[in-house]
Symmetry: C2
DNA sequence: TGTATTTTATTTGTCGACAAAAATTGCAGG
DNA sequence: CCTGCAATTTTTGTCGACAAATAAAATACA
């Protein structure tokens, strides 16, 4: 055996890092649907899984609840937040608007180093499309647009937008785990166009492109829904 | 003596209510600048002030940190979040856009009972203007627009908008506590116009009105800043 | 006197335990 | 067999205590 577990009863974990570990992992598991919507969350189970007290677990849960990723009834069980399919249009409205405004702001306020990051994300997205890896497409697409939003440098918008992208990741994964459609190559091309107009600092064109791009994505999602709604409607 | 403190060592406080009490009060004190930006927050002091353990205090602080009302350095002191005067334009951008979109959605999706609430808020705002109570104006104005946003029924937008209104409350209070300018009667009239176009379900007019209204408020704030900047510039 | 280093004090993160609330089970009576 | 109540188990909110990390103070040394 290696030296990693010889005389080691210390937690080997730095003070204050516990919450972050739990928070990050739970967050990923929720967004990846490893913990599907409605799953009960047991504090003591998590406590023994991470080998720490319930206190840091609880703090992580409070933060997740603050972001709307888990629902917590007082004195009652806490569970992974459900997806409100009945009001999806509010999600789409917000998503399209944030696509537009963040891309527009990126065209206005980006700095040279931002473009490199955006370019890198686009390359990753293109690779995912080539590999026809639907899950990777979802993740890299979100990262691409998040990078654009960061270049816009408005923390209020990036905050909301990242939350929307997270929620979208959950929604898409819900369908792409059974149907591995490949997102069209067109999205890759549109991303290229978006990079071009951002680099050219053309705010109007950026807005226009982002809008049509977002609306196409929304349409794509709605198509998936229409196709699946007659199968597993479990209201 | 009455029977309220005879044989009463019970906390007289319901289980689970502690966090909410602390959260609500701290939140109000932060927004009202009773706790000015940069104030240190001492957990144990709060604990003895509210006569409870540090645990619920901590949970309230985590939630406040999630909303950006306090900043918390790991293993270091936590303090009331500062106002980023250098990037106020990002705040204004977000505020104007949310004014527009929430008012537009209210015109599209409001129900009859929403109008009654909005009307009530507007009356309160008008009363505050008549009384020339600047602090009440700030609060009732925020409540008025928050009610409009609720009528728009998009939780993503209302969430961000309420946060922006909170931040605006802090910013305004910072100046109105020394300068009790009276916000012009024009705002009252514009509010009336907004109610009218919302009731008429005229989304375009609602958008237009909200935009000019918001931009006037921003202008008002910027005037205050220009006037005060040459006095207490403490960079 | 000023600076570096050790010592003390304060504060924060974590823990185990306990008590209240809800969920579950067991039981009695119809 | 079902229904309503009592007892038990499980789960959640709170507490006091302890230890790590940092800040402050004290001391040593140049």
């Amino acid at each position: 055996m290696s030296d990693s577990d010889t005389s080691n009863s210390m937690p080997e974990r730095k003070r204050g890092s516990g919450v972050k570990v739990v928070y990050d992992l739970l967050r990923d598991e929720i967004l990846d649907l490893v913990l599907p919507p409605g799953s009960p969350i047991d504090e003591v189970q998590l406590a023994e899984r991470f080998k720490m007290s319930r206190t840091p677990i609880r703090e992580a849960l409070v933060r997740l609840a603050g972001e709307g990723l888990i629902d917590t009834l007082p004195n009652r069980s806490t569970m992974v937040a459900n997806i409100d399919f009945l009001n999806l249009h509010t999600f789409f409205d917000a998503l399209v608007l944030m696509y537009r405004v963040t891309t527009r702001l990126a065209a206005q306020h980006h700095r040279p180093e931002d473009l490199e990051v955006i370019r890198a994300r686009q390359d990753e997205f293109a690779a995912a499309v080539r590999a026809q890896d639907a899950l990777a497409m979802i993740a890299t697409n979100a990262a691409f647009h998040s990078a654009i939003a960061e270049a816009g440098r408005n923390p209020y918008f990036t905050g909301l937008f990242n939350r929307l992208l997270d929620e979208g990741r959950r929604i898409l994964r819900l369908y792409y785990q059974s149907y591995d459609d490949r997102l069209p190559q067109r999205f890759v091309d549109e991303h290229e166009d978006m990079i071009a107009v951002i680099a050219a600092r053309d705010a109007e064109a950026a807005d226009r492109l982002a809008r049509t791009h977002a609306e196409q994505i929304v349409e794509q999602i709605q198509k998936l829904f229409a196709r699946n709604d007659r199968l597993d409607l479990v209201l």
